[in-house]
Structure formats: structure tokens, C-alpha cells
Amino acid sequence: MLELEKYKRNVYSCVRCGICRAKYDENVRRVCPIREHSGGFDTHYAKGRIVIARGILEGKLKYSNGIADVLTYCTTCRNCIEACGAVDMTTGNPKIDSTTVTEAMRADIVNLDLTPEPYKKLSSRIEKDRNPYGEPKENRNKWAEELDIPEKADTMLFVGCTLCYRRMEIPIATAKILKKLNIPFGILKDEWCCGSPLWRTGARKLAEKMARHNIEALKDAKTVITSCAGCARVLKDDYPKILGNLPFEVLHFTEFLHSLVNEGKLKPEKRIVKKVTYHDPCHIGRHLGIYDEPREVLKSIPGIQLREMYPTRENAWCCGAGGGVKICHPELAIEIATDRLGHAKEVGAEAIVSSCPFCKTNLLDAIKKTGSNLEMHDITELVALSMGI
């Protein structure tokens, strides 16, 4: 049975109005970053993919290498779902969850052995090295060598592959903040990839394997925090869907910081005089609804002037990296990120702040490529700076 069959109602609910391409109002400037930067055919945004899905369900189309290729053109940013707004009146969930339909089709592609080469390489690296970068397993906690972090605690920091191997400044800042606040925490000795890139690109069996390992490893924790938006989405949303209720609470680090600010336990004191704008990562924004917490944390830093980009929050423009796009279409990902730099410039920001290592990497790539003078920071770095660490 095709994975797509499970989402038949989603597929048949689409009325093909095309608002997932074209919505434009005071809050939204078009919808699909891929559609705007690719050849722009109907198949490069939600409506066309849904039409293909229906053709497959009705036996009029068959999965092919071409369809597999076109399915790689989706950042899974869920802006199309936000623009659509159709709701299943019995559940309150999106009626046309086009991102989930795309992910189901990707799963079919994998099951039918039509997996695009970049996805194959990604899966094979994760299978072998437990991270998508092919980095040695033993180097995973290298970033923490000087920090003396225990392996067990009630509060566990789930670090994530990108932070461990590519954006070490973020977990270092995270750990230093926790230490300065005297919050006991641990990191796993044998953390595996959370499975986010696998889930988003259809390799569900391997993703489940990752999930089972991590849940077992974290089973004694009461709270799991993560500074990675992708990990947060998977831990909070995908794990329970597949494996049932988790034995611990999951918080993105911005939620954790926000509660500390609210409780008066975190008081950033050092002034950072800077005009900043917050880029909502899709994985904690539209995927998890975390919008206010990071903004409140930023506002608690003296000297910070927070300016909202247009579009923002629920309608924020994706950075372009998600859903496997960065690995399959790196230039396209940077083109999309360049849009975001423009949005930041429009509001006079000196720096973009985000809370996702993947967004940070892609936006930095765009800054480098365009020669922009914008700064790019993860929110934890600014918080750490304002705490004098």
C-alpha cells in the first residue's frame, strides 16, 4: 500500500484554487519560495503536487524518476498550508496538509526504490555515522570537551547533528548559559541523528530507528531541551506520532529561555545596541507555533531594537534550506535565503537572529555569496553575550 493512501482525504479536499501559490495581502507576499525561484511550473508548489498525488491515487500516473525529482523541490516550510487555511471541521487540523502529502510521496519514492541520489547519500551517511555529514561518531561531543557536562541529568540537552558538527558556537553558548544559571543538565554519550532529514525526505524506517534509539537513551530524563529547530519539531511532533507519548517533556531552547525570563531567573544585563530582526525558522514557527517566546527573550536584552520583517511569524519566508532542498539544490536554497536578507534590509536591521542552525548556515551562505554586511546570530549567542559569557 502506498503511504499516500493514508492522506487521501487531504488530496481530495484540495479545490485547486491556487492560493498556495498566489496569496498576497498585507501579511503575505506570495507563498512558495520554491515556486518563485525555480522554473515555477504548477508542479513546483502545493497545488500541482496535490494534482499529481490524485493522479497517482487514481492510477492515472505512476511514480517515476521525474516525479521523484520534482518532489525534492519542497522545503516543507508549510507556508502553503498557512495560506490555504482550510480546516478539517471535525479535528481542527489543516484540511489540506500539502506538506504531509509531499512527505508521504517522498516515502513512497523511497519505498519504490526511486530515491534521488542526494537523499540516498544522506540516508547512508546517517545509517553509518549517525549524522548526515558523514562525520566520525566519536567527534560528536567534541564541542563539549572543555565543558565537563555529565551524561545523565533530569534535564537533557539534545544537541543535534548540525550543532555538533557545523555550528558548535550554538551548543557552546547554550551550555554556558545553563551553567551560568546553575541549571544541572546532561548530554547523551551516544546521541544519534534525531531523524529530521530522514523524516522530511521520506526515509521513514531509518528515521524510526533513530527515534527508538534516542527515546531509549533519553528515557530517564524529565525534560529534553534542544537549540535546534529541526530536532525540536521531530522530538515534539514526529516521535509521538510514531511511538506514542514520550516519557519526557520536550522544549525548544527559546521556550526554556522564555520561561526563565518570565520567572525572573534570567536577566540579561549587558547592553547590545543593535537593530535586529527575528527570522522564524519554519520548524518551530509554522510547525510548532513558537513565535512569541524568542521575541520576548530578545526584547529582554537591553539595547536590542527588534524590528519585524515583512512577511513574518505565521507567514515568514522560509530560509530555503529545509526539506532536503539544501542538499539537493544548494544554489536554489541560497537564492531563497537572499530574499530574506532583502526583507531584513528593508526594515533597517543590522543583524538577523534566528533559532535554527540550518537557517543560520543558509543565511550565512547567502550573506557570503551576496557580500551583504548583515550579521547573523543564533538567539543563544546573543543571550550568552548579554549575560557576559
Partner: protein, 479 residues
Amino acid sequence: MTTTKEHHALYDDLAAIVGSKYVSDDEFVLWAYAHDSSSIAHIYGKPQGIVVRPGCTEDVVKIVKLANQTLTPIVPRGGGLGIGGPLPGAPGKAIVVDMTRMDEIIDIDEENKVVLAEAGITECELVTRVNEKGWDILNTAFQPYYTTTLGGHISGASCGAGMHLGRSWNWKGVIGMKVVLPNGTVFETNRWNNNQNAGQPFRWVPAPDFTGFFSGTYGAFGIITEGTLRMFRLAKIKDVDVMFFNTFDDLWHALYELAEVDPYPCEYLFCPDPKTSGIMGLRDNQFGFIYGFEGRSEEEAEFKRKIVHKICEKAGGEHGTEIEVKSCGDLQKRVFKNMGTVASIGMWSLLELVVGRKDFPKVFKEHAAWKNKKFREKGIEGQLTDFHLVFPIDETFISSVMLFYDDSDPELRKKVFDLTHEFFEYINHRGYVSFESATGWSLATGTHKFFRPELHDFLYALKKAVDPNNIMNPGLFGF
């Protein structure tokens, strides 16, 4: 991804015109383009031969000339929002010209109160961007019309002239357009014949009104690449109100009198029958009268509201409660400029008809009776949601039955499909007009049935003269 498949015969030529990024003959791409937003798309949609996305008028000229040289048909396409069904084209062969890459506003000319834009821009983007400058254009604020392209709107592909509920038909706001004729000539409508005048088009130039001529021809006489629209000042005050009537006759008395008020006091107006009113969360035992009004000042808006109140009160209308008025405001926010609320109900099929004022009461009642009879006959009562509304627009009135159903139920889908066709026959026998019956698939296959013979023959002759090779949208007007 590289493929070894055999490309369409014009693949390389088209790629040379627009760049290979903007050409595709992949089977699944053609499949996607074969399906518009009509309920019958999955029955009539047939993949054409190749899709091309031109970036400028010059690209379109080259594509059209190439098509003529090679006798390859063209199917122009905007946002794919036709609800009359996809055009037949020439399956497996025709070039689908996707105009949505040409989506720029060329000029918002505030002094002359016109906006010039490329044909591929969506109505919602155009409206938003002129609104940002303090202006407005005639537009239809609800889906699917709100995401139609300018070209799709002018050509009639997105279901006819378009309704700016209350103000007028949207086509009245079109002043001129740039069209690539079937021979590749670029023609700008309603400009003075004087070559020295490079100014804006003037619709009422003392010459044939070619803006009107090309409106609603579905691209059969040329591909629209630009349009010029009249702008008017965006009102500062916008508000909503609702009245209720015990009977259709009472409602009709109000509508009849209101139709003579000039300028029309409502920004928009629609009247749900009692059942629809109930579904909307209003009164289920009275006809609703939901209207928006606007003004450049509080006084102007209030003046308009009072005109409507006076007419409605005289006809026996009751004022909505504060809660009902608020509910209508919320409804407007949810439905206008948004799709979610409508799509949440289900796939749609529209059984609409348009008639003049004189015949409307009789037609409305007959329409309602016909619908109820058909529902009983087909045993679909309770299986779908149906709305019945009245929209007064200018000198005409629309009786609109909207069906919302579960498209995943093949049996129900078939019944709705049959019902839609029976409705076309119904209105055809009675001499009424319907947008759905005269657009898309129906237009291509049924002009001999729906149009008077002399109109059909005239269009046939025109088409033959303008497009002897039958390049543009073959099948239209019997050609």
C-alpha cells in the same frame, strides 16, 4: 535530472526562446496543467504537449510565430482557475503558454488613475499593491477569482466578467490591453490611431472597442500580455451591515428599488436564502441581506447606510442584531480574500444563472424548485452542503446555487457532475446565461448549443479570419 525520453518536437526551439528552465514536457507536469479548479477537471482534463513560461511579450510573440510556422496549437493559461472545465486544446501536441511568469506591475499611474500590469499578475497581488498606494480596482474579493491572473480575468477564463459585488462587473474597469495576435503581431487595444500618442488607452476612443472585443474570448483571438485598469480611490471607511426579510417577495421589493439608486450605495451585497443564512450562523427562517458600505468619510458611509436602511425598512426588512452584524463582519474577513473557509466545506460546483431584473423573481423561485427536485431525484439531500444566494450586479441579478461536496466519494462526484450538466441543459432551454455553461469545456464544445446561431456563425467567421491556422485555443467557437 537527465532523462533519455524523446522530447516534444518544439522543445529545443522553445528552450531557445525562454531558456530551458522554463520549458517542460514531463508527463506529470502536463498532467498538472490539465487540471484547473473546476469540478469537472478530472473528467475532461487532457495533458497537452509541452508547457512554456514566457517572461515578456517578445517571448510570447516568438512562441506564437513558432506555433504558426509549425501549425502547433497553443493553449494560453493563467492561474488555472477556470471553473467551466479545461479547454480541449490538442492533447499530446499543444503548447500550454503559462503566463504567470509575467507578473509585474509596470506602472501605477496615480495622476491618470490607471494601473498597467502584466497579464500573469494575480488579482490579489494587484489589488493589494494598488491598495497600498491608496487606490482600488474592480475585483472579486473571494476565491477562486481572487487568485486569478489579470489575463485570465480579462479573457474570461476565470469565469466570465467577474463580479465586484455591488459595484459592477470587473470588465468595466478594463481600459485597454496588449494582445499578441495569432500571427504574432502585437496589438494594443483602444489607443488612438495617431501614432504620436503614446499615452494611456482610452476605452471610448472613436473606433471599435477592441478591449471589449478581446474580453471573454478565452485567448481564441490572441494572448493578452498586459492590461490597463481604471483605479478609484480606496475608501477610508468600510463597514458591514445585515437586514432580514420574511419572504423572497419582501426581499425582492428592496432589491428592485435599490437597483435604481445611482450611484449604488453598497460596496457589496449578497442575499442568502433562509437555509444558507442558517448555515452562515444567521437566521434560518428569513432571507438575509448582507451588505458592505464605504465612504471617504464617516458621514458619506453613514449616508449610504441610511439609504439602504430606508429602502429595506420600506420593504419590511428587519435590522440584524449587533451580534449578527459582527458575525457578518467576521464572515467577510474569513471568506473575502481567503480560501480556507470555503475549501473547508468541500469541493464546489456552481449552478449559477444571470438574468435581468424583470424576470428575476420568477427565475429565482424556479431555480430553487428545480434544485430541490433534482436533489430528491438523485437522493443527494443531506450528502452535500448547498448555498443559494442572490447577487445583484448592475442591471442583472444572479441566482447562485453553490454545491459543496466530498470529492473523494466517486458516486457523489458522479451525481454532482450529472447535475451540473443537467443544469446547463436547464438554463439553455430557458434562454438564461451562466458563466459556467459558457466558459471552459462548455464553451469549447457547446457554443452551437448555447449561442444563438448568428452569434455562433459570426464568431466562427471572425476566428477563421483572425486565426486561419486555428492556432489559438482550437475548439473554441466551433472552429
